[in-house]
Amino acid sequence: MKKIPVIFIYLILYTYSAVSQDYYVYTTAESEDEVALIKFDGKKAEAIKRIPVGVWPAEIEGPHGITVSPDGKFWYLTMAHGNPYGTLYKFSTETNEVVGQTTLGLFPATMQISKATGFLYCVNFNLHGDMVPSTVSVVDPETMTEIKQITTGAMPHGSRISPDGLKHYSVAMMSGELFEIDAISLQVSRVLNLDDAIKSMAKDHANMDHSKMDHSQMDHSKMEHENDKMKGHKMVHSNIKPTWVIPHPDGKKVYVAGNGSNEILEVDLGKWMVTKRFPGDKGPYNVEVTPDGNKMIVTYKSAGSTGVWDLNTGKEVARIKNNRRVSHGIAISPDSRYAFVSIEGIGGEPGSVDVLDLEALKIIDTAEIGKQAGGIYFWKIEHDN
């Protein structure tokens, strides 16, 4: 009987010694018109491929958002600038060659594919002039056709899907709204004005049951935000300036980056209200939650740092200075072990990706890529024997 634990330990040690893991992430370089494939072997991170993207060589087309299909066979890239509409490109992860494309709205930015429908949902950030309500494009990635544009708020960003794939969340940076879209009916199901929600929170309206408000029956897509009546109105700019929203893996709450208010907001999806505020460093921009649900990673764009929060205690356990200025996006490995943080840099500085060890709470290595590193998405783990 004593042999059993010995064998088990031997098996574990053998596996540990025999298996090493390589992590791969794709990162955009927005002012270089380039995408970099980063490989991290647990110690060293390097750009093993730099892929030129775009069609107008003399102009900055701005690759901004990037995502990978759930099966890992394709990566998708939004090119922010177009004529004037931006473009969604589909690349093969095997060849890194373009295999499809379609035109979206103005300044298409972040996106994700729903595992429940297979569709891709992309916000059209629209930096191009008047701050009018913009849209979320729904794309069939099989045929690369845009199925629908759903009107939301001014400068929507942070396009993320709920863990069950049934809801899409985005925030409108200038109008300060959180939008929930039914990923199946492609209708806006709920809208939360975050500035108002914070005021309500301050007035201790926590006893109100907002879940009883059945917003799902409201057809927000029919709200003609862009009609002539709106044109004369001055857009009310949010103090929170939300730039990102990420659902928690438990599907019960989302976290919103308050870029203007230097905080992260927790929104309870059942109550549909702000339930917690996490004061952060200057300029929170992107937020991600580890797949195990225990940690929240926040880039503080203005401060040039990355925060690691323990969601069980609600404490920020580390605030790590990034190796360069303008911290941007986050990708977390599926084993919740590492966070890959894109750093834009300023002017002629190259962009870079800092790899954070989420256990040791420090930067392990930095990979340099093209200027203005932005969108970042985890591709795969490869096990080497």
């Binding site: 030129p52 900055i60 004529n83 930096l127 002039g129 794939g165 049934l166 199946i184 084993d335």
Partner: protein
């Protein structure tokens, strides 16, 4: 141990998975699918039909609890709601996507082709047939096919026939040739629908054609005007005779083609020196006239004068101006770098000296312009770290100590690629979509006062240039737009820009525009330039560009006429400048080309030998060494200044023109 925990779990899960039977892992998921109940999926336009689908197992039994959703892959072709009610709009075969969603990622999908039939054909129209056709003439017919919804079917061709092939025949290109007098019916038919037109063919009264030309000798590139007059046996002019002009020639250089261009209004231009014969014909009668064409002989020497090398980054646009101290200065932008603009003393063009620089938050300072009074410089920003981009207004009263007055980003956050300053206003592009007019009378407090934007689908803009109160914008596939911003021709102003003329050419590559009022030809040309990179752009090495300049005769604003081109083989056009009747154009890897654009313009200006000179900037200390890639050119006080993407700012001087009575060469 904390590092071992996930590894243990990972190993255990692998073990458990490997022990499970394969069938159990695949589950029933593999055996269910979406089935369509609706049988007939063919529809007519504007028809409504309910599509019904459900999930079935391998035995064909309906699986309960699976939601079905319907999506149109092209909402303009057909719409479908959540209940499967489909409304057809556009003919063709379109894709219906049916999804049965699943939160575990095992969604089902079925793609169904929906065939929307074209409406039945309704009409074949034969248009613009002249009342009278003379025997011996050939005229093209315009035949169109329409369906019941009055949509033209350009994808179909009608079968065309003549009722009497002895009187008139018609070829497959719809050219009708009248053979002899008589009445003939021309019928165009398709799918049982036909259109018919009766043509009266008359005896050709023409018995002679008189042909004159404004001169017998000319140079290559000179436009000769031939005038043919058809007369009958009594010498009376036959006004409605259809006269056709053709030419043949023999070049003096025996290995050259005697190429040229003749238009059906009688204008002719030759590319090569030689003897040319122009023929005017009408209904079997023809008259010929020969003309001798000499070489244009406009070549002049050009000499490199000075250079200010930028060796650590790409250089973009530039501007040369006379400062308020009477000296001459230049400003250059930078591309894909660190947001720097450089200022130069170019008073002595042989000694271009860098005197100051300004760095702003940007990766590319693509455009730089200076106000007419030499006091204000405005530079554009792209790739700003805060993505606000916009423009930066500089005080250049002392170019040795340039000061930032203000930064303006309102509505310009998507990036400013090009801009222009005209009478206290900046015309700044916004993210390639439109341009805003910004009042900078108080440069510390700029304010948007107007904007111009097209309303065409997918409209875009690349550049804007303002002259004499008219803004000339370059709008890619929407072509050249002429907008009154104070000229008065259309009642426009900076606050109320009014578009009054436009022209688009098929390539859709309109990247730059420059007006040219030709005194010698008494014509108003607008020069539209392409930007094309057929082989891509290597930012770290040499490149080859494509594209050319299009000369559009805008003398009749309502009927702009693309009449000439300047194309350099193996190189591509970028920015340019016209001074007097000389064009200075940057052709990227082809350097700077100096072109004689005097007189009336027609045809291929390069082939005609109108190029006066060219010069290639190349320097071993350039950012890309020894690799010309010229961005733009500008004439200033007799010197040609030009910026080069790979090497910086340059100056050159054209040798004086040889007196016209000096014979340079003879054949």
């Amino acid at each position: 141990m904390k590092y071992l925990r996930p590894l243990i779990l990972h190993t255990l899960s692998l073990l458990i998975l490997s022990l499970l039977p394969l069938g159990a892992r695949l589950q029933a998921q593999e055996n269910i699918e979406i089935k369509i109940a609706t049988k007939d999926l063919k529809m007519n336009v504007n028809e409504t039909k309910t599509i019904s689908a459900f999930v079935v197992d391998s035995d064909g039994n309906k699986v309960e609890g699976r939601k079905i959703m319907y999506y149109s892959s092209d909402g303009k072709a057909f719409e479908i709601d959540s209940l499967g009610v489909l409304k057809s709009h556009r003919p063709g075969i379109h894709n219906l996507i049916i999804i049965s969603p699943d939160p575990d990622g095992k969604f089902l999908r079925k793609d169904v082709p929906i065939k929307i039939k074209f409406p039945p054909l309704a009409k074949v129209a034969i248009k613009d047939v002249p009342d009278k056709v003379y025997a011996g003439s050939t005229i093209p017919l315009d035949i169109s096919i329409f369906d019941e919804l009055e949509m033209e079917r350009e994808d179909l061709s009608a079968v065309v026939s003549s009722s009497d092939r002895k009187i008139a025949v018609i070829d497959k290109f719809y050219n009708l040739t009248a053979l002899k007098p008589g009445k003939v019916a021309i019928t165009a038919s398709i799918e049982g629908i036909s259109g018919k037109v009766n043509v009266n063919i008359s005896e050709n009264p023409v018995r002679k054609i008189n042909l004159t030309v404004d001169r017998d000798e000319a140079r290559t590139g000179d436009v000769l005007r031939f005038k043919a007059t058809a007369v009958d046996k009594n010498g009376k002019v036959v006004k409605d005779a259809l006269i056709m002009y053709t030419f043949e020639g023999q070049a003096y250089d025996v290995s050259s083609s005697a190429s040229g261009l003749i238009r059906q209004d009688g204008r002719f231009v030759a590319d090569e020196a030689g003897l040319y014969t122009i023929t005017a014909s009408a209904g079997g009668y023809a008259t010929r006239k020969a003309v001798e064409i000499e070489k244009r002989n406009v070549k002049r020497k050009i000499e490199l004068v000075g250079k200010g090398i930028v060796g650590d980054k790409h250089t973009s646009d530039f501007w040369i101006w006379e400062g308020i101290d009477g000296k001459d200065y230049g400003v250059t932008g930078t591309w894909g770098a660190d947001g720097t603009a450089y200022f130069w003393d170019v008073t002595n063009p042989a000694n271009i000296t860098k005197i100051d620089s300004v760095q702003v938050d940007a990766r590319t300072v693509n455009d730089v312009k200076v106000s007419e009074d030499g006091k204000i410089c405005v530079i554009s920003r792209e790739g700003a770290s805060n993505r606000k981009n916009g423009i930066v207004i500089l005080d250049v009263t002392n170019p040795r100590d340039v000061q930032i007055i203000s930064t303006f980003t309102e509505n310009l956050t998507g990036g400013v690629h090009n801009l222009f300053i005209y009478k206290d206003h900046v015309y700044a592009l916004s993210a390639g979509q439109k341009y805003y007019v910004i009042n900078i009378k108080d440069p510390g407090n700029p304010a948007i006062v107007g904007k111009f934007e097209l309303d065409t689908p997918h409209h875009a803009i690349h550049d804007v240039w303002v002259d004499d109160g008219i803004a000339y914008s370059s709008n890619w596939s929407d072509g050249i737009q002429l907008v009154d911003v104070g000229n008065g021709i259309a009642g426009g102003s900076p606050e109320n820009p009014v578009q009054f003329a436009s022209y688009a050419y098929p390539s859709g590559a309109n990247h730059a525009t420059f007006p040219f009022k030709s005194k010698s030809a008494d014509k108003f040309y607008v020069i539209g330039g392409d930007e094309i990179f057929p082989y891509g752009l290597n930012v770290n090495g040499p490149n080859v560009a494509g594209g050319f300049l299009h000369f559009i005769d805008f003398t009749d604003l309502k009927n702009p006429d693309e009449i000439a081109r300047f194309e350099v083989p193996g190189a591509g056009s970028h920015n340019y400048w016209v001074d007097g009747e000389t064009l200075y154009v940057a052709f990227y890897n082809g350097g700077v080309r100096v072109v004689d654009i005097s007189g009336e313009l027609m045809g291929d200006l390069y082939k005609q030998g109108r190029e006066i000179a060219f010069i290639l900037p190349s320097d071993p200390d350039g950012y890309i060494p020894n690799s010309p890639f010229t961005w733009g050119a500008q004439l200033h006080k007799g010197h040609i200044f030009y910026s080069d993407w790979n090497s910086g700012l340059w100056s050159a001087k054209l040798e004086p023109e040889t007196p016209s009575d000096t014979k340079l060469e003879s054949r």
